[in-house]
Amino acid sequence: MSSQFRFAVNVLPKDGILDPQGRAVEGSLGHLGIEGVSGVRVGRRVELTVTAVDEAAARATAERLASELLANPLIESYVVEGTRREPVR
């Protein structure tokens, strides 16, 4: 019997890595008249469903996907967030 689990992987540039997108967001705050925003980092968020026998197995799959595909360890760090069990459709 297997269940479905939904995860989110947040991938962000490591500290010290250039983040021109973050700079661009900060740079456009003035035009919008928004104040008091700083430390902007722009990364990726990937949401996915894993079908597995239990949550531990599902998380292991999500972790593997995150470390091997979704993030480049040279430049990015990631966090796997989860989980919400979903009914198997």
Partner: protein
Amino acid sequence: MTLEPAAGPPAETPLHRALGLTDEELDAIVARLGRAPNDLELAMFSVMWSEHCSYKSSKPLLATLPTHGADVVAGPGENAGVVSIGDGLAVAFKIESHNHPSAVEPYQGAATGVGGILRDIFAMGARPVAVLDALRFGDPADARTRHLVDGVVRGVGGYGNCVGVPTVGGELVFDPSYQGNPLVNVMAIGVLEERLLTRAAAPGPGNLVVLFGSATGRDGIGGASVLASATFGDDAAGASKRPSVQVGDPFAEKLLIEASLELVEAGLVEGLQDLGAAGITCGVSETADRAGTGIEVDLDAIPRREPAMAPFEVMISESQERMVAIVRPERRAAVEAVCARWNLPCAVIGRVTADGDIAVTSEGRELARVPARALTSDAIVHHRLAAPPERRRAAPAPGAPDEATDLLPERGMDPGAVLLALVGSPNLASRRPVYEQYDSTVQANTVARPGRGAAIVRLDGGGAGRPARQPARGIVATTDSVAPVGALDPWLGAALSVAEATRNVSITGARPLGVTNCLNFGDPTRPEAFWQLGEAVRGLADACRALGLPVTGGNVSLYNESPAGRILPTPEIGVVGLLDDVERHVGPAFVRGGDHVVLAGRATPGLAGSDYARLAGLAPEDGPPGIDLELEARLQRFVREAIHAGLVASAQDVSGGGLGVAVAEACLWSGIGAELRLPIASSPAVDLFGESPSRILLSARPDAMPRLLELGRAFDVPIEAIGLTGGRRVVIELAGAGATGAAEERGSRVADSVDVAVADLRHAWDHGLARALGWDELGAGAPEGR
């Protein structure tokens, strides 16, 4: 007038009206069916009888265009025009608009515009080799405009760069009339072996209809989503939540190109059609109608991206990156193998039948049955009312006496300063910040990249198993529209546009092959707008006949109006030409000091519609310059002949900003100055900055001059040596009775000479656009997303 957008149609609105069909159109549908349509059929009619798919307002006008030519192997009515160029090769090309989607979502609108026109090209069996994007926006200082320009340019690049087709040219024009309604017209060009020419037809009852490419989702259901609330019990909120923005997937398109061309090359398909507007409904009805057959669609066989799609959603979805192939049953496995190799979903979704009907079935039940003709070639045609505006400014007749509109000395302006201002103005400055976001070199055939004059792409380069041909030929391509003049005189605007686009091709030495066009106009139910459209079509036809060129295809975009105003009527003209030897093309920049500078053609009066007029103002009663189409034809023959004879070092069209800007560009592109003495025929402003057509700025070695002048006489083209190249300044002395007299009468000195450093012109030209758009020079822009 509704003040608030209605959540859904009021209960009493009949369904056909909610779908955008008039009562008259419903009656016409009933007459064709001999009964009332059911809801699915009505949905199919509503999309097929839209202006976009049916050309119901423009069809009678387009029928007047000259479309024949000895080398035309596919003309209007096909996905793209195709012209034979000998040696078994042919060129396919077409231009199309994506104005409204780009106004809503600039990135995706432009991206899917590129995708759509590319599919039209490879549906003919041609490999796309070039893209050109003709863009028009409102005030460059306005925040909304900046957002649109940024998104559209990123969208064109995002798609074109990924699919590996170089973007080699286009236009970027700012005019307040486009503030609420930008224009995004994209032209694509492909090359094919003529024997592989493929038609969008569904011959042979019993043949299979194969859908391949992306799965079908609810993309672009848009207006038709009222059906969901009306018939399928969705609440209005649910219906409005359905996405109507189409998202492009250039990666899928790249696979689609390769798979389609592989299918064609292997001879596996009887017909090929892209799915764009009106989706599967359009694809099956047009292919069936062209072959005089019918198609039975098995709705359940269509791969879906979304659960619980209603039949009408599947039938009219505009999901991108899909094609339909007509395949003999015995070739099914081979077709599936090709699609599998390219990792593209592929499904047999129907069969060709002999009864001429489009039938839609699901779970063994027939949900719709409509004659294919009724959806396509026999769609309703509206004969709209045309009425000219009460007041209009016409061009002087060719040969009319010159009338000085000499504002230049009158205002005490230094013509050199005017020239600098023009060269750095948003419409004339370098487009580099834009085209640098495009891959213009992929495919390794781009001989003339964007930036100066027409684009040139080598043919016959060889490689990848194909032999190189000696000499290698070249394709020359450009788009042009003289819209500001069209607002004053739509016949003239269209004729000038054709003249300018073809001239830009001829001055490289290439022979124009044909004309494609995108007619961007207003609401056709408004008599003045329809009159403009009619006049423009007449101008297009007249100019093409005079130049001996066929119109091979095009596109019509109407309703280009917004609460902010109406666009200038904009007939966008795309021209493709052929160079017999690409190595011998001529460019627009001066090539060395000491060459003679020659003006072929003569300025005629009229400043209205010019960039100078926009910058400096002009007498209110001034009209636009006229055109003598016979002279234009002779001029273009002359320049091609002169280039062929090896007499021309450089050839530059005189257009936006007039002769002054033409000289400035020839100098600043080469870094070589010029010292000229310009005989003033009418007035300094007209001769320096007027945009009268049929003029070419040439440079030639001294020893070529006698033959060049002789050739001018032989072609009956006015031709005059006006000075020499060299130095680091642009110096133009204004000479002649006209100038002196006019100026002295006003008590000022003769209009001062133009005397500007080439480097200053270059600086103004280089930085004008980035400054106008507020882009920093390295191109850092707004973050993605918005």
